[in-house]
């Protein structure tokens, strides 16, 4: 029996404090320990003799230290921070790379910088962190998602969201506003997050790589380490005052309604009598402030989250287990989102050559929502235009069931709609998989994965009899909508990887693989009505199913992929990647596509001549070129579909069918060619690290939903046509401004992107898209311009005087004092579309983010600012906010309207007397600057002193923190959210604010406990 002894010591961080959470493993054994609150560790039963200790900790450079048992004296190791350590291993597609060897444009997000953001999903943690990744917080819907773009919009018809790959699984769908598929991942489970931007790094994802790729890995156990962590926070969210809609109060509204009538009489030379004014509007003063419905429906909402994770490992078996709970009540009353997550990652060795692993990560979410972000009658919009003259409750505190004043659009009390007429989505989803890896010879490994991604979601909403609808007072017939959809997606993947150093000069690492992926989607929908009562809401209690639907869809993808990295003397780096994808989504004639890329890098720092430049600690230049694809069109779009279209004869149903789409067997993916050149340079031992990338991406054969002359019998078809350019510059700067007892690190990134359409369909006909309330197009995509510019009338004021009216071009409905639009086509008449001009665009000139981290003794402070410069917002909510029909409550701007030549108002708001239709159509007054800077996050944390914790014996670390999210917005935009975008908007219709669910300001208090 071999003799053993203990190994003990202390691991310190660069400031001399304890490196809590660091792990110590005796190399080649299963022996290890984690570092306690005072930085000390003891490994027992270590065999007598020399050993190598491996010390590692997230955020620090790992170290290997030679030791001997028995020890002469306790070990003392100080770790170095590795903000941009070159020895870092970076997770890339289908493998990892040393940062030093990276040739592509990719960025990793430092997990330490991201902790404690009180957000539900990982995409929100990306905000402002990576140059060229634009995360727009479009909505505050609990459980909803932001929109993400990497390096601009390269596509027109096939979406511009990046591909998310979680533990090797490419997720089929990406974020959307009301449901975020990334809810399947608890952000606290993330270990690494890499954004792949250039073609060299994304080409390995072939037909899905064109919009960039976000590669995420989750936490795994480590040998010799046992960690139990509890992260919990609780806090509040509220809707900031800035940007809340500014509507007429009760008195002003009653006066407004009175004035409309007076003005109408005046315009035809008459004077109204008292009888002409509805009694409700005769005495405006009685109302005072009236009811502000919007303020009634929003409230301060709690949010809380608890995550517990346990990692434990030996050399042969490592496991990581986590449980999470999130409860986010919405700032709009009676809305909320709850999520339960669990994750188990287990990995074990069988003998020395076989590794097996399993991961399971089910997530269950319950989202309670309403019909917000759907149209001007939705509950949020309605809370703006409902009559402010109606009180929320009667004198006895009973809610007014139905809100209306004479001659107005009417609707249910929005509080009733929210409390009783909501929809609940229950979603069980997750990723699970297993792998086996066999080391054939050292350096050559074969691996097989089988994974699934499943999603079962059930949505149910019930409209009870006593709520009612817009222009439909209660009682109504109770009815319900239920839908169920199931997605089952499996991935089977075989990979062979090879890593070898040949002599001193040549290093090769290669991976080759085959994968097959298939998804099946099933959907059912039932609309049930004629419920006997409001009590029993399940469909069995309904007596009629007037509407129903079902769908089944499948897609499949077969891929062959390979990548070779070659390094010569650690100076010259070469990467070649190729992937061939075959997809069921594309036409029989164009089913397979091949996506190659090459990249080269030169680690100049390793050249002999750099010896003289001591201040330069890293210098590398990179260049890459490659082709990637976008396969995001619907399934079965290449074939002509035949849909049911039945008639009736002889008083009976006569089944009928008709073609509903055109065949296009030549339809295939769009191809992006991207060239990228990059520079990485660091000074003074990485205290200042700078990265710059320039890129130029041209997307060809764009998947375009082409409008067709309807005389063909069809109005649109998806074709491959057109070309879009995105070119840009990305700069990232990381500095360690102060080191020592007080540390201060800054990372700053800024990205400029230029988006331009180079070609469209055969004749380059511009694409009109979007639809205003009056049916006019709202966006225009044309050659030589960015995608989806805003179009509309150009406001030239109002017809202020009779002479002005007589001498100016007019619309058929124009009257004295009505809105004066520019006669763009010069034909003397104002007409929709013909007199539309480009009035703005959503694309920013640049977006930026700055993160500052400070720490002093046990205190840490993290401050994130993000911003965007030069984009514009089209505030389409104005179609009802500035509606002068008198049927809605309106924005206070209407007080500044034209009343007479003597009272011309501010020159932008017309009389209420005429041309109201064209005034509620898109016009240049709706375009506002979308430039903003937002204080995205401030987190202040405090580590309890080790001395305090040692006494407990089992607590290794306690950190208390306070964190605020979306704390302040610097913007001239009149709305609340310059990043808002209308739900369901496409690449062709960006930048439209139709009143989204408000973004909350969130303040939480939390703790990180480690045991």
């Amino acid at each position: 029996m071999a003799q053993t002894g203990p190994l003990a010591g202390k691991v310190l961080d660069p400031k001399g404090g304890p490196a809590i959470g660091a792990t110590v493993v005796v190399k080649g054994t299963t022996l290890g320990a984690s570092v306690g609150v005072d930085g000390s560790f003891t490994v027992v039963n270590v065999p007598i003799g020399p050993h190598t200790l491996v010390i590692s900790s997230v955020g620090y450079t790992g170290q290997e230290v030679a030791v001997t048992v028995p020890q002469a004296q306790p070990l003392r190791v100080t770790l170095a921070e590795n903000a941009t350590s070159l020895n870092d291993v970076v997770v890339v597609g289908y493998g990892t790379q040393k940062r030093e060897d990276v040739t592509g444009a990719l960025a990793t997000v430092n997990p330490k910088a991201l902790q404690d953001l009180p957000v539900a999903t990982v995409d929100q943690r990306l905000t402002g962190q990576v140059a060229g990744v634009q995360v727009s917080n479009t909505t505050g819907t609990p459980g909803g998602g932001p929109t993400i773009k990497i390096r601009g919009s390269g596509s027109i018809g096939a979406g511009d969201q990046p591909l998310f790959v979680i533990d090797g699984f490419p997720i089929a769908s990406s974020a959307n506003q009301t449901e975020n598929p990334l809810n399947l991942l608890n952000p606290d489970d993330i270990e690494t997050l890499t954004v792949l931007k250039d073609a060299s790094s994304t080409a390995i994802y072939g037909s899905r790589g064109a919009n960039g790729v976000v590669v995420i890995t989750t936490k795994h156990g480590r040998a010799g380490v046992t960690n139990l962590d509890v992260n919990a926070y609780t806090g509040i969210q509220q809707v900031p005052q800035k940007g809340r809609p500014n509507m007429l109060n009760g008195q002003e509204f009653a006066q407004f309604r009175q004035d409309i009538i007076t003005d109408a009489f005046k315009a035809r030379g008459a004077t109204p009598t008292a009888a002409d004014i509805p009694v409700e509007f005769q005495n405006p003063a009685q109302y005072g402030a009236g009811t502000n419905w919007y303020d009634e429906i929003v409230h301060v909402a709690p949010q809380r989250s608890v995550n517990v994770s346990l990692t434990k490992g030996t050399e042969d078996l490592r496991a990581s287990l986590s449980l999470g709970y999130l409860d986010q009540e919405g700032t709009v009353r009676y809305t909320d989102y709850k999520r339960y997550t669990a994750r188990l990652n287990v990995e074990g060795k069988v003998g020395s050559k076989v590794r097996l692993g399993l991961n399971l990560a089910p997530t269950y979410g319950i989202q309670k929502g309403n019909d917000y972000e759907t149209g001007f009658t939705d509950v949020l919009s309605r809370s703006l235009w409902l009559s402010p003259l109606v009180p929320v409750t009667d004198a006895s505190g009973v809610r007014t069931p139905y809100v209306t004043s004479p001659g107005m659009y009417s609707g249910p009390n929005p509080l009733n709609s929210l409390e009783y007429s909501y929809g609940t989505t229950r979603r069980l989803q997750g990723i699970g998989g297993a792998f086996a890896e066999y080391t054939i010879v050292p350096g050559l490994r074969a691996r097989y994965n089988l994974s699934i991604n499943y999603n079962n979601s059930n949505n149910f909403s019930f409209n009870p009899s006593f709520v009612g609808g817009v222009n439909s007072p209660p009682p109504t017939i109770p009815n319900s909508n239920s839908s169920n959809d199931q997605r089952f997606n499996w991935l089977s993947e075989a990979l062979l990887s090879y890593d070898k150093k040949l002599g001193d000069n040549h290093t090769i690492s290669a991976v080759a693989g085959y994968s097959a992926q298939k998804e099946q989607y099933r959907y059912q929908y039932l609309n049930a009505t004629n419920y006997a009562s409001d009590d029993v809401q399940t469909i069995n209690a309904a007596s009629l199913i007037p509407n129903y639907n079902a769908d089944v869809q499948e897609w499949s993808l077969i891929s062959y992929l390979a990548r070779v990295n070659y390094a010569f003397k650690d100076r010259f780096l070469l990467t070649g990647t190729i992937r061939s994808d075959g997809s069921s989504r594309f036409g029989a004639n164009k089913r397979y596509g091949t996506f190659p890329s090459v990249a080269a890098g030169w680690n100049i720092i390793n050249e002999g001549f750099m010896q003289g430049f001591k201040s330069i600690s890293n210098l590398k230049v990179r260049a890459s070129y490659g082709q990637t694809g976008n396969y995001n069109i619907g399934n079965y779009t290449t074939i002509a579909n035949v849909d049911a279209s039945s008639a009736a004869f002889g008083g009976q149903l006569a089944p009928g069918r008709a073609l509903s789409s055109l065949a296009n067997p030549n339809l295939t993916w769009e191809k992006s060619n991207q060239i990228d050149a990059g520079l990485d340079i660091s000074f003074w031992e990485n205290r200042l690290a700078f990265t710059a990338d320039v890129y130029r991406r041209i997307t060809n054969g764009i998947l375009l939903n082409n409008q067709l002359p309807t005389s063909s019998g069809y109005s649109n078809a998806i074709i491959n046509s057109g070309k879009v350019l995105n070119r840009g510059l990305e700069l990232a700067l990381n500095t360690r401004n102060l080191a020592g007892a007080f540390t201060w690190n800054t990372s700053l990134n800024i990205a400029f992107n230029h988006n331009e359409v180079l070609a469209l369909n055969d004749d380059n006909a511009p694409i009109y898209s979007g639809r205003s309330g009056e049916g006019s197009p709202q966006h225009l995509t044309q050659v030589g311009h960015p995608i989806g510019e805003f179009i509309g009338y150009v406001v030239d004021g109002v017809y202020a005087t009779q002479a002005d009216f007589d001498n100016s071009p007019k619309h058929v409905t124009s009257v004295l004092g009505s809105i004066k639009y520019r006669d763009v086509d010069g034909n003397g008449v104002i007409e929709a579309t013909k007199d539309f001009a480009v009035i703005g665009h959503a694309q920013p000139n640049y977006t930026w983010g700055v993160t500052n981290q400070f720490s002093f003794k046990g205190l840490d402070l993290n401050v994130i600012f993000v911003g965007s410069q030069g984009g514009q917002v089209l505030k389409t909510a104005n179609q009802y906010l500035l509606n002068i029909d008198g049927i809605f409550n309106v924005d206070r701007k209407v007080l500044e309207r034209w009343r007479s030549p003597e009272q011309p108002g501010n020159g932008h708001i017309p009389t209420t007397n005429g041309a109201r239709v064209i005034f509620r159509d898109t016009n240049s007054d709706w375009v506002e600057s979308g430039t903003f800077a937002r204080l995205q996050n401030v987190t202040l944390g405090y580590h309890l002193p080790a001395a305090l914790l040692t006494r407990t014996g089992f607590i290794k670390g306690v950190r208390l923190y306070a964190s605020g999210q979306n704390l302040f917005l610097f913007s001239n935009y009149s709305g609340a959210n310059p990043e808002a975008n209308r739900n369901g908007s496409s690449v062709l219709t960006p930048g439209e604010d139709f009143l989204n669910y408000p973004l909350a300001r969130t303040i939480v208090f939390g703790t990180n406990l480690s045991f």
């Binding site: 001659g407 222009n471 069921s584 002509a640 006569a654 089944p655 002359p709 005389s711 078809a717 239709v917």
Partner: protein, 481 residues
Amino acid sequence: CKKDFLDLSPQATSSAANFFQTPSQIEQAVNGAYVPLRDLTNLEYWVYGEMRSDNTSFQYNNTDRGQESQREFVDEFLVSANSESVLSYWQGSYRGISRCNDVLGHVDAVAMTADKKNQYIGEAKFLRAWYYYNLVRQYGGVPLRLESVGSPAEAKSPGRATLDAVYTQIVADLTDAAAKLPTKAAYAAADAGRATKGAATALLASVYLTRKDYPNALTQLRAVRSAGYSLLSSYRSVFDPANKNNAESIFEVQYLGSQPAISSYFTYTFAPYTSGNLVTGDAATRNLNGASGWNIPTPELINAYETGDLRKDASLQLGYKDATGTFVAQPYVSKYNFGIVAPGRTDTDFPVLRYADVLLMQAEVLNEQGYAAGGEAFDLLNQVRRRAGLPDKTAAAVSSQAAFRDAVLQERRVELAFENQRWYDLVRTGRAVSVLNAQGVLEKARKTFLPASAYQVTTNNLLLPIPQYELTLDNLEQNPL
């Protein structure tokens, strides 16, 4: 295996590759070609056939102005090429034409009995002719599309055809349809409502009449007269869903109240929006919205009925009683109001061609060929009047060709009121401009909100603008505006 893995066919729809192959699939395709007709009848046909004429207008809805630029502007002659309803009329008609072309392009290759093949070809050609007839009368010469479109590359049209070319095609289609279609009697009961030989013949007569080709019109009308159609004794029962495809009906658009997607809802559309459920009788729908209050009879039409005309009460009401029993003087069309099948659903069909129309067309044709005091034309006119409970028109009272022309037009106005005929009658008789300018003066006096530019009717207004959407995408020339 690999090929199969990627070769996925839809399960929730069929693929065209497996369609148009069997007689039953051809029949389904023919049935599908009737569907756009049903959709157009629901909205566009009455908006452009009645509201634009002097027969009907709309109830001003101050709480819902959403249809102002769509429907109200049509009534007021302010409609522009951007109007969605101008596009949807065009699009719906061509959707029907495309479905007819799909049938005609595939039917020959499918083995079936000659009778069935003739029937399907006849139905498709009848429908295609009907869609083109409406297009040509509303937009003038339109693109002639006679082939099935198979790919996005074939989507553009050859451009606008001449008016004559479109009419030549309509006549050719109807002539062939009349030769191939079964008679009404030859169809099985379950096929009642399909296009018949009589329908094709009557429509052909209408086309010839519009073209002022009186000899050919007369030949076709005489053929319909001998095909076994007759007037029902009760005017109102002609429209009663209990009486679908009756002896007077030559062609009507078929609805089915039991099927939500196939039911009609004219009762709702034409009811005053202020009437709640008092007009519709639908206990579940107590509130009507902006979808109601349309096709409201004008005072001029109401006054056009002679005293004692039984058709007046059968066609319209002068108002309704509110919940307290007080009469609300808000006229509305009641011709299609026969109760509901379920909330939001009625079973009422919509007449397109009926025997009374044929009688009046023939009376008109005979008079155009030469006035004959007390001749056959008088008899035809009086058949229609007698059923309405009105005295005969005598040669003494109607003593000239011009007077008879007026008498027939007046009779058509009330007999065929709300059947989407009035606009076309005014246009083809050359009266539209004068009648509608005069109507505009009256409307403006009643509706103070109308802008000065409303009802400025010129011959340019007799055709709709070509939809701007279509102009942008295709090589078409706009009508003079």
